[in-house]
């Protein structure tokens, strides 16, 4: 249950750091990025360029996407080097059906 107007901090200020993490933007997505791990060279271009910090990296390895926050913009697939092209954007429904 969210706070009522009497309890909400005034001025529309946000006192908590990183609160945007709690807001799911994944539902805005039409295209979903998919990773071909065999092709990926872990150059981290996708991680750098992702505007939503939705590329998950563990121990220096690109391991996948945070689909709660990925809006499906496709920048990661565009920035993935031409000789690699490990990321493909697919229609959300098709991806769901494939699974």
């Amino acid at each position: 249950m969210k706070k009522g107007w009497k309890e909400t901090p005034i001025r529309g200020i946000i006192l908590e750091a990183g609160s945007a993490h709690g807001y799911s933007t994944g539902g805005w997505r039409k295209l979903q990025p998919t990773l071909d791990r065999a092709k990926c060279i872990d150059c981290m271009f996708c991680w750098v360029y992702c505007p939503d910090s939705a590329v998950i990296v563990e121990n220096g390895k690109m391991v996948g996407f945070d689909l709660e926050h990925c809006k499906g913009c496709g920048i990661c697939a565009m920035e993935c080097p031409d000789k690699v092209k490990a990321i493909t954007m697919v229609l959300e429904e098709e991806e769901k059906e494939a699974k």
Partner: protein, 400 residues
């Protein structure tokens, strides 16, 4: 010319000099402005105080009024006490930032030296500028005289910064009529002004408070926007009592009392006029003349237009037989000016209420004389006798 005087009473100053002098005494942290007629001399004189080292203010000279208000907002969000001044097109150019100042609950104090809006181009007084900003969330105080402009500026700081309020305040005075006319007034000692406004301690984390970091100006989507606006509405509601309390505290310092409105010869009045700012002075002369002629005339001069004290004004008017509300601005609804429509709406709360008419006057600095006010009172007497209103809304002081 910067003002320095040993005698604090019966000092002759223009409205703008008095505003600049009040600003000097308040010594705000930041002033950002882009001078515009007729408010220009406020900044001209205040910049002299800055140049002379009479204040500690950071004066930000910007490239437009939009930037002036933007700079004020940034400085206020950083925890500074901030003031500015503008008029007319300058206020119009500030428009989007006015709403942001109010929505971010920043207690900025601005002198609005009332001037007509283009087109046609005009530099003289009417209230189109501030009336247009009536829904921006700013508190609005209207000043009849140089003394009131000076006193309102000082009180505005305390009203704006009150923890129940935290809203920007616009202090309005009539362009040229008040801003450029020299009147006698009483100044308050520097120490008393300093004590009255006190030190500004923001009770919310400011942008420069690194111990309590906060995000300002973040997006508020449909899940949170209306809560912020509801808070803003509540602050405006609470501002009414704060303005009254600050007025009482000010009386202790200055000997001059301020409330939500001034009532002039209203006790036994049968016909009354409601009018803002300098034109109220002219109209009081007409009230006295009507009284000499045996008519029970009175006048109400609202000081506070935002928040709108509809119950208090309604209470003062409910037993009057006929009322004329004079607006120095039209809202082009074809129904009447803003003061008229709001007072008429407020009176709906009362079972017994007067016949009422709205008249727009004095646009673009057109003279409004005692004879104009007398003609309005004569019309009110006809309405009182016949019980009939011929014209609900009309213009006066216009060539037919």
């Amino acid at each position: 010319m910067a003002v320095e005087t040993k005698h604090k009473c019966n000092v002759g100053l223009t409205g703008n000099s008095a505003v600049a002098y009040a600003m000097k005494q308040i010594n705000p942290d930041v002033v950002a402005a882009y001078p515009i007629t007729p408010s220009t001399t406020v900044m001209e004189e205040f910049s002299s105080y800055v140049a002379d080292g009479a204040v500690d203010t950071e004066l930000v000279t910007v490239e437009s009024e939009h930037s002036a208000m933007s700079a004020c907002i940034g400085a206020a969000a950083a925890g500074a006490r901030v003031m500015t001044a503008t008029s007319s097109q300058g206020l119009a150019l500030m428009w989007e930032m006015l709403y942001i100042a109010a929505g971010m609950r920043l207690p900025i104090v601005m002198a609005c030296v009332n001037r007509a809006l283009s087109a046609p181009l005009n530099i003289h007084c009417d209230h189109s500028d501030s009336m247009g900003a009536r829904d921006s969330g700013w508190i609005q105080l209207y000043s009849e005289t140089v003394q009131e402009a000076y006193d309102n500026i000082i009180q505005a700081v305390r009203i704006a910064e009150h923890e129940d309020v935290l809203l920007p305040v616009m202090v309005c005075l009539d362009g040229f009529i008040t801003s450029h006319s020299i009147e006698n007034l009483c100044l308050i000692d520097n120490d008393k002004v300093k004590g009255f406004v006190g030190e500004y301690k923001p009770n919310q984390p400011s942008l420069l408070d690194v111990e309590h970091p906060a995000t300002y100006g973040a997006v508020a989507l449909p899940d949170s926007y209306i809560e912020a606006r509801r808070q803003q509405s509540e602050a405006m509601k609470l501002a009414k009592d704060v303005i009254t309390d600050v007025g009482k505290a000010f009386e202790k310092v200055s000997g001059r009392s301020y409330g939500l409105m001034e009532k002039y010869r209203m006790d036994d009045a049968e016909v009354a006029m409601v009018i803002l700012s300098s034109a109220a002075g002219t109209s009081k002369v007409a009230v006295d003349e009507m009284r000499k002629r045996g008519a029970k005339a009175g006048l109400i001069k609202p000081r506070v237009f935002r928040p709108f004290p509809y119950l208090e004004i309604g209470e003062a008017l409910k037993n009057i037989k006929a009322v004329a509300v004079l607006d120095r601005a039209d809202s082009y609804s074809s129904f009447g000016g803003p003061l008229f429509t709001e007072i008429r709406s407020g009176l709906y709360e009362f079972d017994k209420r007067p016949k009422i008419i709205g008249r727009v006057f004095g646009l673009g600095g057109r003279d409004y004389g005692v004879h104009d006010a007398l003609a309005v009172f004569e019309e009110l007497l006809r309405i009182k006798d016949t019980g009939k209103v011929d014209k609900l809304f009309d213009y006066i002081t216009v060539r037919e």
